[in-house]
Amino acid sequence: MRNMKFSRRDVLKGSTALAVGTMFAEPARAAPPPASAITPALIEAAKKEGKCAFYTAMDLQFAEQFGKAFEAKYPGVAVRVERSGAERVFTRIAQEYQSNIHAVDVVNTSDQAHCIVWKRNNWLAAYVPEDVAQHYDKAFYDPDGFEVVTRILVSPIAYNTDLVKKEEAPKSFADLLDPKWAGKMVKAHPAYSGTIMNSTFQVARDLGWEYFEKLAKQRVMQVQSATDTPKKIALGERAIMVDGAGYLVIREKEAGKPVEVVYPTEGTPLATGPSAIFKNAPNPNAARLFFNWMHGREGQQMLVDVARQYSAHKQTVEKPGVRKLGDIKLMKEDPEGVEKGAEEIKRRYAQIFKV
């Protein structure tokens, strides 16, 4: 058990309880589907379909690597990555489904609220991979088997160490309001990124919308994706990232770029990234095979080692360099709140930041 990435208990021990805990805490309404293993029959059927459309909000380079690793294991099943921000992916799927276009097989979002909507629309297929039933805490998968938490992200602050000295680096969200950072920050957009939708919700709830009103006066550079802000500080285009994918900052740092993560004292916003299979998936078997592999030991370990994200699989082995989730003061995730408030968040955000 020492090798565990973190357990639910670890997480709950933290100052804030993980919302994933609260989300699935309700008693199961129906019996979850029986756990499914990867059978030769499944592999055969998947190979017949030959392809799988994977809609995701993961960083593009990693998502392609992820897909290629799967293809190496199961030759003949090509994963086509359709990457965009989670909110964009959500829009895309909605537009496609409204026009009766069933193109998506497996989705991985970074905004749990999306699964609430898809589940409500009755668009998802119930499927619990064997590994999930055995090695995931119940907090990390839907009791009805419609979604599994694939990855857990944080959206910390980060800075470029060439441009900002360690002593002078901001320690909290409040520090970012210091006039000396005016014109030096970059921020991602909640109408594009699911991670940022959640972080915006959490920061606005904990620090108030006034915080964003003050932040907007700092001439913040506004990019779209939470995967772009780490790249912008790694390039040195801006000194500080207000929000964005923490895992990419770690990846950039490990690639030798001058970047450093700061977990703000007010708490670090959290975004849980679940995956789901669509009921009308054009390649149902390839979808199940990929979904199963993705949540198995191999896929999850890759997520930890290469993507530098947090896994819910208890057997994944930690790779040093990432702070344990239990050691980070986290903001509380609230998918229902995000689901209800998304439109309002986008509206207010556009008003404050003008884009």
Binding site: L60, Q61, R83, G85, Q224, A234, E237, E343
Partner: protein, 573 residues
């Protein structure tokens, strides 16, 4: 550039013409292409969510500052761009057409190169060059001047930066109009002025400039129109700077939860203004005809610039640095560099980016396939339809040909993004559910390409006097036989040139495509736009260079055929 039919050739009245059927068929197709999406657009602009008639959308548009500000920004942007374009392009056009400046052909060719560069690609290249901190030019500036790490010379993420980048890819429109007008203006008028004792400058002021003034004004309007309806560049540069233009706003209204009513209402001002501006352009250009009176004109006399001709050339090259040399150098650098914004050195040279785009990026293959299928289909169908329409209108083969010509040119007035909205509203519901197929993109691209294709074919057909066909028919050939044996061979080069221009225009279209694509119908331009949003600049550079190679190959082919060129207007997006 709406072209009205002048000097009617001999009317063919004898016999029954099956061409009538063709006319009605094509008119019907054009109506569906244009009228259907525009009707839905107007319908949506005047209804609320429940389908009841309302002016509410326009009230929201005017009262909501997040909607009104972009409108004001857009007009300021378009006006400034248009002004800059005229100041830069008009003198250049004159230098190329009327002086003994060296390398005039090369300069024209390079302007064509900026013409065919997709504006969104230029905008991304300028991000690499002039982002305040990581931009290559700013890095050079800091090294040269020893300025502090957070100082910068240029900031592309600003209103002025956006104007600059849009002007880079819009000035060719003014240049081409001015240079062409000057090419067509007979030298005799200037000679007369000189003979009567006018000095070079008096001649320029009192003869040459008045002659090209209509062209400059028309160019200003075109530039205004382009800047107003452009989507890619503002989306790439304005959003990071914290402001919207009308096109990016319309597009954001389509994000979840989509507000098609508001998007439609916001599209109408763009549409109406475009129509008005094109009317104005038509009126101004209509006056131009007096300049080309007379029989065979002598070549214009070139003004000797003396030593200043080298200065003039230098000036032209400095201008051309901005749309051509610097951006492509930046893209080239990013293609082979480990870090997009670092200069290539031995230590950071890499082929990884090329490998990633060609072998790892699973979207590349599909996007390339879609782009080429659509490019070839649009170019082929578009050219065929354009040939038929221009034949019917120039030969006045059937009554009602004027309406046909009007329909074919009408899409000029539809900004790409507005057409995108209209098509989305039309074809995501029964009876025509085309969303999700390449057909909807084909419709969009065909509609957008039709005016340019029609203009090209029409001018080509006008150049072939009908007496050649008449002779054939007098000798007993049917209309079709005359067409096949006489007209078709004469038209061949124009047809190929038109095909090439439509193809080039299609593969770089973004604004309509971005409204209409689905995951399986993604094209290269949309893929590049996606990659920009996630900050994958190196991958964009590779795709951008692939596009450059394809486009310049095609353009070189079209240029070898020595046709089109001048009056072609590629759509920007």
């Amino acid at each position: 550039m709406t072209i009205a039919v002048s000097d009617p050739p001999a009317r063919m009245t004898h016999g029954f013409d099956y061409t009538k059927l063709v006319l009605y068929g094509i008119a019907l197709v054009l109506c569906v292409l244009i009228v259907l999406p525009m009707s839905w657009l107007i319908y949506y602009a005047f209804v609320d969510k429940n389908g009841a008639f309302t002016f509410g959308n326009f009230v929201t548009l005017v009262n909501d500052p997040t909607l009104l500000d972009p409108l004001i920004t857009t007009f300021t942007l378009a006006f400034s761009t248009s002004l800059i374009c005229c100041i830069v392009a008009a003198p250049m056009g004159w230098l190329v057409a009327r002086t003994d400046m060296p390398l005039r052909r090369t300069v024209r060719l390079l302007v064509t190169a900026s013409f065919v560069t997709p504006p969104f690609l230029g905008a991304i290249a300028w991000e690499l060059l002039a982002a305040p901190n990581s931009g290559l030019l700013n890095k050079i500036y800091r090294v040269v001047t020893g300025a502090a790490a957070d100082e910068h010379l240029l900031n592309i993420y600003s209103f002025s930066g956006l104007i600059f980048v849009i002007a880079c890819y819009t000035f060719p429109y003014v240049f081409v109009l001015v240079a062409n007008a000057l090419d067509r203006t007979p030298g005799e008028l200037e000679d007369a002025s000189s003979i009567l004792g006018g000095s070079t400058w008096v001649t320029a002021r009192r003869v040459t400039i008045p002659l090209v003034l209509p062209a400059i004004l028309a160019g200003a309007l075109v530039a205004f129109l382009q800047a107003m309806t452009l989507f890619g560049s503002p989306a790439i540069l304005a959003l990071p700077a914290g402001f919207h233009t009308m096109t990016t706003k319309i597009w954001s209204l389509f994000q979840y939860p989509p507000k098609p009513e508001l998007a439609a209402a916001a599209s109408l001002p763009l549409l109406i203004l475009t129509v008005l501006l094109l009317r104005a352009e038509h009126m101004i250009l209509g006056r131009r005809s007096y300049a080309v009176l007379g029989g065979k004109n002598s070549d214009p006399r070139l003004i000797r610039l003396g030593w200043m001709r080298w200065a003039a050339l230098a000036l032209c090259f400095i201008v051309l640095l901005n749309p051509v040399f610097l951006p492509y150098a930046a893209l080239f650098n990013a293609t082979f560099s480990k870090v997009a914004s670092q200069f290539i050195t031995f230590s950071n040279f890499t082929f990884h980016n090329i490998h990633f785009v060609l072998f790892e990026l699973s979207a590349t293959k599909l996007a390339l396939y879609n782009t080429f299928v659509l490019g070839i289909a649009t170019a082929t169908i578009g050219t065929v339809v354009a040939v038929v329409i221009s034949y019917l209108t120039t030969r006045e083969a059937v009554s009602g040909h004027r309406a046909l010509g009007f329909l074919a040119t009408a899409p000029v007035a539809i900004p790409g993004i507005v057409l995108g909205v209209g098509l989305f509203l039309s074809y995501t519901r029964p009876p025509f559910v085309l969303y999700g197929t390449l057909w909807i993109l084909l419709l969009a691209f065909l509609t957008l390409a039709m005016p340019a294709a029609y203009q090209q074919m029409q001018s080509a057909l006008k150049a072939i006097h009908p007496e050649l066909e008449d002779a054939s028919r007098i000798l007993g050939a049917t209309r079709l036989k005359a067409l096949r044996q006489i007209t078709a061979p004469l038209l061949r080069t124009s047809v190929i040139a038109t095909w090439c221009f439509v193809f080039v225009g299609t593969i770089r279209e973004l604004s309509a495509a971005v409204m209409l694509f689905t995951s399986e119908t993604k094209v290269i331009s949309v893929l590049i736009f996606d990659l920009n949003e996630s900050g994958d600049l190196a991958a964009i550079s590779v795709l951008g260079l692939i596009m450059l190679v394809v486009t310049s190959g095609i353009v070189a082919l079209a240029n070898r055929l020595r046709l089109g060129g001048g009056s072609v207007r590629l759509r920007d997006n």
